[in-house]
Amino acid sequence: MGGPVFVHVEDGVITRVRPIVFDESDTPTWTIEARGKEFSPPRKVALNPYVLPERTRVYSDKRLMYPMKRVDFDPHGERNPQNRGRSGYARISWDEALDTVAAEVKRIRAAYGPAAITASTSSHHNWGLLFYKMGPFGRFFNMLGYTTLFDNCDSWEGWLWGAVHAWGYHWRLGVCDNVDMLQDALKNTEMVVFWSVDPNTTAGNYAGQETVLWRLWLKELGVKMVFIDPWCNYTAATLGDKWLAPRPGTDAALAEAIAYVWIKEGTYDKWFVANRTLGFDEFKKQILGKKDGQARTPAWAAAITGLPARDITALAREWAGKRTMLGCGAMYGVGGACRQAYATEWTRLMVLLMAMQGLGKPGVNVWGGASMGPPVDYSFQFPGYSSVGWDTFGLVADKPARNSVTQRDYRLLLPESVTAPPVSWLGEGFCGESIEQQFRPYTCPEAGPDGAPIKMYYRHGGSYISTMTDTSRYIRMYQSPNLEFVVNQDCWWQSETPFADIILPACTNFERSDISEWAAPGGYGAISIGQNHRIVVYQKQCIEPVGESKSDYAIYTQLAARLGFEREYTEGNSEEDWIKKIYNISSMPQHMTYEDFKKKGYYVVPPPGKDYKPTVSNRWYYEGRPCDIPDPANPKAGTSQLGTPSGKIEFVSRSLSERFPDDEERPPLPRYIPSWEGHESELAEKYPLQLVSSHLRYSFHTHHEGKSPWLDEIPAHRVVKDGYAWWPVRLNPDDAAARGIAHGDIVRMYNDRGAVLGIARLTGRVRPGVVHSFQSSARYDPLEPGNPASIDKGGCVNLLTPARMISRNVPGMASNSCLVEVARWEGQPR
């Protein structure tokens, strides 16, 4: 995660981790000519900061060094599930650990059926392709047969459930591709509106700090940057020309008011609207107040958003008067605003606003974070981890794994599926196959003889406690007697490790080999290039596994052996055999022999030559030509149609009109709907502050956090006070003063769901009424271990977020619809 590296090893110990720096034998890099200047990136990788301390993460004192068993867990006697989270652990041998796991798997399958076992990983994993989570984990569990736990479409939520119904792109989970965007922007763009996006923090997802330079180039060219965010994020605070801070949950109102100004002043692309969209007249009626009597004026939106009406008018005029990119709506510029109540309305309005300005014309487009679409060779083939779903080995295996179990569970409902079944939801999580896939109803346990209650949970790394919603639910789940057996396989002791019965130590990607293309997820993320160069890396094993840890592949192979399907699982391949097979199905053999590749360690894909013709995203649509974007998954490739039923941008969604015509919470025509947990809610009287928990800056979610002492020394990450590294809680100085809170006080942030301690930072970077605290603390540190209602000292703010879904038919997480109060912590030293 965060960039390919050179790793220095001396005497079997990692000594340095550095960005890959190209040498003279690597391909020349590219140049873009724009507005009389030339732009070229440096010939090295720009890593994300948390990659540099990787050796401290590999050698962290939190590494799991040997298998362990919970001392009060006896598979043949008392299991004491109620003690999960407060028990001790004893070291056991690998044989005992794997024998116990295999025996439990057999017992549970025999007693309840194979569907009684569920398992999951985190959303992301130590980087690689073959040995990424979809490989060893995916192949093993699909071969075994288990209840697949659908991941909710976390990064995209509102885009999947909303924007799909406006412009299609379901195969990209509701966001568009971003091909050849950089050259278009450098040549033509005059302004970028970054709506709920902090690209310097989350740019390109896995692509490190590569595109920070792009945004500096834009500034150099005089391109204006407007940021819309309740918190003045890092990109806004260093590069922004204007920061507008609407109250959380009110973005859709702001969008409607912008449309109002454009309609009133006639400053929208009437030709595009007439020829490339459907349903505008209905939308216009709504905006002008002819449907419900409420014109969507700037004054109306001002009262809701807390922004001055004049600023809303000025923004609308600037946007219409300049060639403007919208910095959200592609991967990655998905934004926290897509994870809140009624987020579907905001995402659709984003598409519709860009439709009103002529999406796809030069300099005018949806450009996620201003962070994707460099001049690279898109024809070079290398698979990504999600190219074939949950068995990466299936790319080259004789027999890809197919799950024989039909029962499914849903990550956001996992606790209730264990403690209070049945649970129901719509869709298959990552619904990339069709629009209809997100309408499919599910129940867990499934009806019929193949359904089974969930009795076993196999946790392959990660922590939901600080990344899902209302997360004390997961703690209660672990302590439920319904959950007979829990395994946790991880590299480190993390928040959920102390809830397991058996702990299996896995090694990191530095301790095993793999092959991958940098930052390339494939599948829904295909051709989303957020870095300056495409690089394929032979991730050569650097050191022996630490302690008794093993590679995930070795662990699952040994489990498969005990369960009778080792040969099927491995097909006789070693890890190196699999790697070579992947190499041979990619474009690599045309450029380098495998031996040369292993020796060099990496290959920089040459950029296209001077005769390259850019194919800018959405340009084909604007011009009414067949789609010329090299997107392998587009079902309408070769036509001039978008993925909607009509093929056009739909102001009034046909898919929703057909399926949910009367859904007031996601109507066919989008509109602002007051949040069910927002500033106008009744609950706001008790908990008047709105919590915004954006993506962590100095870690990739929980991956690096809590494992490197160097990250704790960055004050924006944690602040050490009285020997403890506290999680920052950012308050507006007026809100802090009203509560007698000083900068540096330890505070308790709380609501009815839980309480979290942090250190107060008084800052003008949050609007009054808003608290900012990052998600993804990797340190669940309850004052009372084992008590799900305990105050957490470690900063897991998702203990406070709501479990309620985005809306009635939209089972997405609404993390940013969260009301809290903050007070000086009574427990701190005077």
Binding site: A245, L315, W710, A716, G764
Partner: protein, 278 residues
């Protein structure tokens, strides 16, 4: 003659902390005899990053100033050291000898930049050595410059007119950090945060953002003019801390507004509402 320098371009620094983390990766737990003893795992910031929040809601910005050892030409730490424990190399790098400097706590206080850190366990003062051990082994640049994603940290031979740093130095003025210390440093900056005066102008009669309005700034001998943008915002940057200034906002048909401002910190004047002339 090789003469190493560092140019730190504040406008390109976005506070990623790559430089500090690369420095720690290079030095924590690693011994480079003759150059530096291992840096303790925590507590030292040989590349210190000073984050400054400027302004107030809703007009805030962040400035990041990376502060390594400044490698002064006539360094106070050299003078404060006994037995030549700190010395300046011909190429400009100032080195603390990791053996000779043992026990010499007084070296810490000698540095006005606070760039020297005490290693309790090794009984040794320590600081940035510009990764001299790497440069002498043929590396192109120190770890901080290598890890910097934007070229905010530019390293090179300032005596070589063809070097990247020479080109960048020639492209504009540079500044010394804390010039009042009177030290000639090998580390120079561009765009060090000073103070700003900003405001948002509003037409009181229409309640619209007052765009394209003239704003005059004067202070002592200095006069500057700006025009508000479409949001009515204006900003005068790079002002002397603790200076006395006058700001005048004028728009035809409106009563001008005048402000007396002292820049003891960054000043956001807030909304400046213009009333119509009677």
């Amino acid at each position: 003659m090789t003469r190493y320098g560092l140019l730190i371009d504040i406008a390109r620094c976005t506070g990623c902390y790559n430089c500090l983390l690369a420095c720690k990766d290079e030095h924590c737990g690693h011994d480079y005899p003759g150059y530096s003893a291992p840096q303790p795992m925590t507590g030292h910031f040989w590349m210190n990053i000073v984050e400054k929040e400027r302004g107030r809601f809703p007009r805030v910005k962040l400035a990041y100033t990376p502060v390594p050892c400044q490698h002064c030409e006539v360094a106070p730490c050299v003078a404060a050291a006994r037995d030549g424990a700190v010395y300046r190399r011909p190429d400009g790098i100032v080195v603390i000898d990791p053996v000779k400097a043992r026990g010499q706590k007084q070296i810490i206080a000698a540095c006005p930049y606070g760039a020297i850190y005490w290693n309790e366990e090794a009984d040794l003062p320590q600081k940035c050595g510009l990764c001299a051990h790497l440069l002498d082994a043929g590396w192109k640049e120190p770890r901080c410059a290598e890890a910097c994603p934007t070229g905010a940290i530019c390293f090179g031979d300032t005596d070589d007119p063809a070097s990247d740093i020479s080109h960048r130095l020639a492209a504009g003025a540079t500044e010394t950090l804390h010039p009042e210390y009177g030290l000639k440093t090998a580390v120079v900056y561009r765009g060090l945060p000073q103070q700003f005066i900003a405001g948002t102008v509003v037409f009181g009669d229409t309640d619209e953002c007052a765009g394209d309005v003239r704003v005059f700034l004067s202070g002592g001998e200095m006069h500057r003019t700006a025009r508000t943008n479409s949001f009515g915002d204006f900003e005068f940057e790079g002002l002397t801390p603790g200076g006395d200034y006058r700001v005048r906002v004028e728009s035809s048909g409106y009563v001008p507004r005048n402000f007396a401002v002292r820049t003891d910190k960054d000043i956001y004047l807030g909304e400046i509402i213009l009333s119509r002339l009677p």
